[in-house]
């Protein structure tokens, strides 16, 4: 199995070739404005390596922040129709009701609210309003809208009303792109609807971008299927990604953690990914990042995406050191006046850091002076004193220790995997850490994570009048079915996460069960 993993970050586009579980070659190129150019140049650089140039490639897996950036920057978003099914319930809180105004103005086209939807016990709130849906579909066609998000109450338990609405809409508007909220999972109407609406708004951009990825791959002479990584560290096919671009929102951080797990061979550990500007601390469980349970805001919109639970601090290789010239004990109250971060020189590190001939003192310069790493030209460090450098490293250590302690879920020492271009800032001895693991190619862990990504399936349902074991078994079976449908080899599917939550004030000892499974990509 030979697979190329690509991570398109804000600064660099990293690419690796993985062959039978081994990194053959890894390259870094600057990310380009159009995303595609950066991918093309990293693929070119990768293919100049003799072992990459020849031989078949089984798949190209890309992780990108392109779609989340579009939402945050309010760019390339389309006008959409929002269809809510569940009237008369929830009538006073229509679609877009908790969006930032500028984003709603950009995205909201037609808003349709119809009778229908379900209760938690499977009964219909009201019969689905077929005729009204057809009339609305004609209005949507008349308005020239090309993308729609459809959300019905309790659709994760019973999606039939969403599906019926989609069928009618397709009859009236044959070319419309449709997002059904239950495909994005999770109970919580507003957050699920928001995810569906964001997804619908990204429809055109997803098509253009993923077509561009395909063209770049073809242009570099590679004949292999394209996959995109999603928030939970697993992959989806290019076709699925085109339909569900929101599923790739947080893939960068997730890929780093998955890469760290792969390169270290560890399944349960803490991970710190030190980049140029910030460090992300997370926790691996069963080889996957532990997920955040809480509401996640994307560009000011509340959603319930599957996102890794990360704690980020403003510390990286490019972090700017302030007051480096002041003696360490010269601050007020005898405290050190030296600070590091959160400002950073970012991608200008190779021009502006002292060791590269620049004039700004960075964390990298301090690390070189303190002797923890050899980068650039140490002779250029000039007046940066050893005491100051060691003070900066001590400060960075304290910041990392605090961040790691916040993310730990158990007392006692744990293992930490340090990855990312700035991993040299992580010392070998840290409070609460038994061992710091460093891995070859750790600076490209994100691209490695993309290359090794598996196929997942998830379910989130309410079960009643069942034992806990029966409910979990039913949920696992459904999640496995979904993973297989997504292209996983059934023989390799493993359960990643089981979460069960008894529900207050519901009869029949109702239990909400969420199960996530993942398996290797089938060689289809």
């Amino acid at each position: 199995m030979r697979r190329i993993g690509i991570d398109v970050g804000g600064t660099n586009t990293d690419a690796v070739l993985l062959e039978d579980g081994r990194v053959v070659h890894a390259v870094k190129s600057p990310t380009s404005e159009d995303v595609t150019g950066g991918i093309l140049s990293s693929l070119d650089a990768l293919r100049r390596h003799p072992q990459v140039a020849s031989g078949k490639i089984d798949g190209v897996v890309i992780g990108t922040t392109h779609f989340i950036n579009a939402v945050v920057q309010r760019r390339h978003l389309g006008k959409i129709a929002a269809v809510r099914i569940g009237m008369p319930a929830a009538a006073s809180l229509p679609p877009f009701c908790d969006w930032p105004q500028d984003l709603a103005a950009l995205v909201a086209g037609e808003i349709v609210m119809l009778e229908g939807g379900h209760d938690y016990d499977g009964r219909e709130i009201m019969p689905f309003a077929e005729a009204e849906m057809r009339a609305a579909a004609r209005r949507i066609r008349g308005a020239g809208i090309t993308s729609a998000g459809i959300t019905s109450i309790f659709s994760p338990l019973d999606p039939t009303h969403e599906e019926r609405a989609a069928a009618i809409l397709t009859e009236e508007c044959p070319d419309i792109r449709i997002t059904l909220s239950h495909r994005l999972g999770r109970i919580g109407l507003l957050e699920r609807e928001n995810a569906a609406l964001l997804n619908a708004a990204l429809g055109d951009l997803a098509k253009v971008t993923i077509d561009g990825f395909r063209a770049a791959i073809a242009k570099s002479g590679i004949d292999a299927p394209l996959y995109l990584t999603q928030n939970d560290g697993t992959v989806m096919s290019a076709e699925t990604a085109m339909a569900l671009p929101v599923m790739s929102f947080a893939s960068g951080a997730t890929n780093s953690m998955r890469g760290a797990a792969f390169l270290s061979g560890l399944k349960d550990a803490m991970v710190v990914d030190v980049g140029g500007t910030s460090s992300d601390v997370g926790q691996l469980r069963n080889g996957f990042p532990r997920e955040a349970n809480s509401v996640v805001e994307i560009g000011g919109v509340r959603t319930l995406f599957r996102m890794p639970d990360l704690y980020s601090i403003g510390l990286g290789g490019g972090s700017i050191v302030r007051n480096a010239g002041v003696p360490p004990a010269g601050g007020r109250d005898g405290r050190s006046p030296i600070t590091v971060g959160p400002e950073s020189v970012g991608y200008r590190l190779t021009r502006e850091a002292l060791v590269f001939g620049g004039g700004i003192v960075t964390a990298t310069d301090a690390a070189v002076k303190a002797g923890v790493v050899e980068i650039g030209d140490a002779a250029r460090l000039g007046e940066l004193s050893r005491a100051t450098a060691e003070g900066v490293i001590a400060l960075a250590t304290a910041m990392l220790e605090d961040a790691i302690d916040r993310m730990k879920t158990e007392a006692g020492d744990v293992t930490l995997i340090a990855v990312g271009g700035g991993a040299f800032l992580v010392p070998d001895r840290l409070q609460g850490i038994g061992e710091v693991i460093r891995v070859a190619h750790g600076d490209c862990a994100n691209a490695v994570g993309a290359a090794v990504a598996q196929v997942s399936g998830e379910t989130d349902q309410i079960y009643r009048d069942m034992t806990r074991a029966e409910a979990i078994a039913a949920a696992e079976a459904q999640a496995k079915e979904r993973a297989t449908a997504g292209g996983a080899d059934p023989a390799t599917i493993q359960t990643i996460e089981i979460e069960d939550m008894p529900l207050a004030y519901l009869p029949g000892n109702a239990l909400r069960v969420r199960v996530r499974v993942a398996g290797e990509m089938g060689s289809a």
Partner: protein, 364 residues
């Protein structure tokens, strides 16, 4: 304080934060109610908050709440017109009009329900409630402690189902009967409880709790803006005591008889390092035990309010959302005096939740 004043939208933003803290882990997030109020204020609605002591003895006061499973609320959301309709059902049943609207419970999303009803009906909101916090059952109110009449209760479902429970022998029976109806409605119902007279609200209401929730919320939001300690702000504004600071290390949940029960364990940090705090909950936090290794003793219990707050933001953690790794500060706030009597403790003391311990106040 006997004056009526306008409630600003900023007050309601603060109320949402403060009421979630007074929810003591339950009561549901006020977020959806807040969204409704933002919309109503954008449409031009304005509300008045009146002192309970400005009520005439023979005024009729509507006591409102949303009943049901928080999870169902996340799907069916909250519609301001539904709670107004439940109030109108009572008026139609009795043939008279209400003077004002009162919250059944100031903790959680029910703090906003009277505001939503009042906006549609053009009535003032009374600065009081009947719990001073959130509690799981109908008999756990100050008016039940006062043995006031438990009926009639109006329940409304927006698909056109209207029910009145016109007579029951006790508050417990009201709880059981109305809960059944609520379940049939999809485990969510807008309810208007037994009407209260102005005299009853003055004697048995828990007074100025709306202002208290707004005050706590405002101080927390100010502390967040200024990067000051929000926990200190809660202690100061709520005249509370800090019980424990630490990190959540274990959460176990189960449902029995429809209630969410379980325990959460918090491992001490800073001054509490080396100790553990164990919290038992039935929808809300009920009892806190401190374990110092050699000794394990209860240090706080209902009816004192046990609030588990995010050590950084000061926002409340709910019993449904608390999980491993969260940094928590556990704070006690004083119980309303009505619950400290022998009769009050029968309704909401530790034994009412199945814990065979004598009530000892954190503030004794």
């Amino acid at each position: 304080m006997t004056e009526t004043r306008e409630i600003t939208l900023d007050d309601i933003e603060s109320l949402a934060v403060g009421a979630w803290i007074l929810g003591t882990g339950g009561g549901g997030s006020p977020y959806l109610g807040l969204l409704n109020m933002r919309r109503l204020y954008a449409e031009g609605h304005r509300l008045q908050l009146m002192s309970p002591f400005d009520l005439a003895d023979d005024d009729w006061i509507a006591v409102v709440s949303n009943m049901g499973a928080p999870l169902v609320g996340q799907e069916r959301l909250a519609d301001s017109r539904n709670i107004a309709r439940a109030v109108e059902m009572q008026e139609a049943y009795h043939g008279w009009k209400f003077r004002a609207v009162l919250s059944l419970e100031i903790g959680g999303n029910n703090s906003i329900q009277p505001l939503m009803a009042a906006a549609h009906l053009g009535l003032p909101v009374v600065d009081a409630d009947t719990m001073g916090r959130a509690y799981p059952e109908a008999q756990m109110t100050s008016v039940a402690v006062g043995d006031l009449r438990p009926y009639p209760c109006a329940l409304y479902d927006p698909r056109g189902i209207e029910a009145m429970v016109t007579q029951v022998p006790t508050w417990k029976w009201m709880e059981r009967t109305s809960r059944k109806i609520c379940t049939e409605m999809g485990s969510i119902a807008s309810t208007c409880k037994a009407p209260r007279t102005g005299a009853e609200v003055k004697k048995w209401g828990i007074h100025f709790t709306t202002s208290k929730a707004i005050g706590i919320g405002r101080k927390v939001r100010e502390a967040q803006r200024r990067h000051e300690d929000p926990i200190a702000a809660v202690l100061d504004e709520g005249q509370g005591k800090l019980l424990f600071r630490g990190k959540v290390v274990d959460v176990a949940r189960r449902t029995t008889e429809g209630f969410l029960r379980g325990t959460a364990s918090i491992e001490g940090l800073d001054e509490d390092r080396g100790s553990r705090l164990e919290l038992a909950f039935q929808n809300e936090w009920v009892v806190a035990w401190r374990d110092d290794g050699s000794e394990r003793r209860p240090i706080a219990m209902s009816p004192d309010l046990i609030c588990v707050l995010d050590s950084v933001s000061g926002n409340a953690f709910g019993t449904e959302t608390i999980r491993y790794g969260m940094r928590a500060s556990v704070v006690a706030l004083p119980a309303p005096p009505v619950f400290l009597t022998a009769k009050g403790l029968q309704h909401v003391g530790p034994r009412a939740f199945g814990y065979d311990i004598d009530f000892r106040s954190v503030f004794a």
